[in-house]
């Protein structure tokens, strides 16, 4: 048995307050998936390259495989489970990913949408180049990114109340 002291952490996840005792070495991704049963954030590469574990922490997109749960003490987190509109309908981004076929296997999608959510908050009207650089920390091995970019453009247009021009490829 470990004699390392367990540390209390309390944080807000998708609007709900949670409190747990954790081993200091517990990574945030394991805390979310195993303690809170939030299995939307995925474990892909485990080396902070792929972005499948991306969640929003205090308005920052972070790779939860490279953050200790104790570092998130007091933070507000949003995962893919918290992305839908409060009435349960799809958010503009989720709708964009569906309309523009922004996913194929879907493994990267929780990280992509969570990352794009923060990107659009910081930059509500990004250029294609800004979108591509903005999601450069998220790898997709299916789509070639074309329709992911279009999905994010769809969401930006919808949120800005402008016309949606592109069609899915």
């Amino acid at each position: 048995m470990s004699d390392i002291e367990q540390i209390p952490v309390s944080l807000t996840v998708n609007g709900k307050k949670v409190q747990r005792f954790v081993e200091p070495r517990t990574l945030l991704i394991h805390f979310l998936r195993e303690e809170l049963d939030l299995t939307g954030p995925h474990i892909g590469c485990e080396t902070s390259h792929c972005g499948a574990c991306t969640v929003d922490m205090n308005g920052m997109s972070v790779k939860s495989c490279t953050v200790f749960a104790v570092q998130a003490n007091g933070a507000e987190l949003t995962t893919i489970e918290g992305m839908a509109n409060p009435d349960g309908t799809l958010s503009a981004l989720q709708e964009g990913f569906r309309q523009m076929h922004g996913l194929q296997c879907g493994f990267c999608t929780p990280g992509m949408i969570t990352r794009a959510h923060t990107l659009l908050k910081e930059n509500p009207n990004p250029t294609e180049d800004e979108i591509r650089m903005g999601i450069s920390g998220n790898l997709c091995r299916c789509t070639g990114y074309q329709n992911i970019v279009k999905a994010i453009q769809y969401a930006a247009a919808k949120l800005n109340g402008t016309d949606i021009q592109e069609a899915a490829e």
Binding site: S2, I4, P24, S48, T54, T66, Q71, R115, S136, G137
Partner: protein
């Protein structure tokens, strides 16, 4: 990929953090953004018994100008460097460099202090800080001392930082208004370390170079301040012959490993090419 066990400390002052480090010696490590240390801990290549999280120390954040010096707190993130209007106006090469580091998620957490203190020759900020002639403030049990970035790096992961010291701030002399600058980095993909990279800051006066500072990333086991290359260029009009001699002088001090980024001979030449491109871009900017 789960790190070994450790005791977690979250001090709220530098003095408290230094005291914890001092009482545990080599068994303790400071944690800043964590994007170098946590991957190493997951691979069990680092296994500190005590982790001292600097995230709760408000004094380590922020960017302030005082006369001709800008002081950046060690826990200032790459994202904050990129977003700083002050740096954008006075030291725009920092923004240019930060944008070439890792990816957006990592830049939200990765810090300037962690980038320069870790001693990883792949990191970009150390050579930039050498180019800018920055000084690092190192705080230990006996107070603070300053070490020039050009004197700080001893070998890969070996620096002038003692185990009971924390790098608390970086002091950067502001180059004159109208200076030219460029950071050129060759990399294979977003998030990669440099195959080779070069930082240049120069000033022009009547078409010739008044001052010129050059440093190189990831082409030796430390960042390289290319003093001779800078001297060769100073006083010149950046004519092809002088540039060629400066590039040769810079290439001569490199000693890269052959690795996945290419054989040593290639990486040496790429260091030269990055310097040539950085010089051209810096001169263009200085000419306005």
């Amino acid at each position: 990929m789960i790190p070994g066990e450790f005791t977690y400390h979250r001090p709220s002052s530098v003095a408290e953090a230094v005291a914890i480090l001092a009482s545990h010696g080599d068994e303790a490590r400071p944690l800043s953004g964590g994007h170098s240390l946590i991957p190493m801990m997951k691979l069990r290549m680092a296994a500190p018994e005590h982790l001292v999280d600097l995230g709760g120390i408000a004094d380590l954040k922020g960017i302030a100008e005082d006369g001709d010096t800008i002081t950046v707190g060690a826990m200032t993130t790459q994202h904050e460097l990129i977003g700083s209007d002050l740096l954008g106006a006075r030291l725009p090469i920092i923004r240019e460099t930060s944008l070439l580091i890792a990816d957006p998620q990592i830049r939200y957490l990765g810090t300037l202090g962690g980038n320069v203190a870790n001693g990883d020759p792949g990191n970009d900020m150390p050579a930039l800080m050498q180019c800018l002639n920055a000084a690092y403030v190192l705080t230990g049990p006996d107070g603070a001392r300053e070490v020039a970035a050009r004197e700080f790096y001893e070998a890969a992961y070996f620096t002038a930082l003692a185990p009971d010291e924390i790098l608390t701030a970086v002091k950067i002399p502001v180059p004159p208004t109208g200076h030219g600058y460029a950071y050129e980095k060759l990399k294979r993909k977003v998030g990669d370390y440099a195959t080779a990279a070069a930082a240049v800051v120069l000033t022009l006066s009547g078409g010739s170079v008044s001052t010129c500072s050059v440093a190189l990333t990831n082409v030796a086991d430390t960042p390289l301040y290319a003093e001779e290359a800078g001297s060769i260029l100073t006083g010149s009009t950046l004519d092809a012959d002088t540039v060629k001699r400066a590039v040769a002088a810079a290439e001569a001090i490199t000693d890269p490993a052959s690795d996945g980024r290419g054989p040593a001979e290639y990486r040496i030449k790429m260091a030269g090419i990055m310097l040539e491109r950085a010089l051209a871009r810096a001169a263009d900017r200085a000419r306005g």
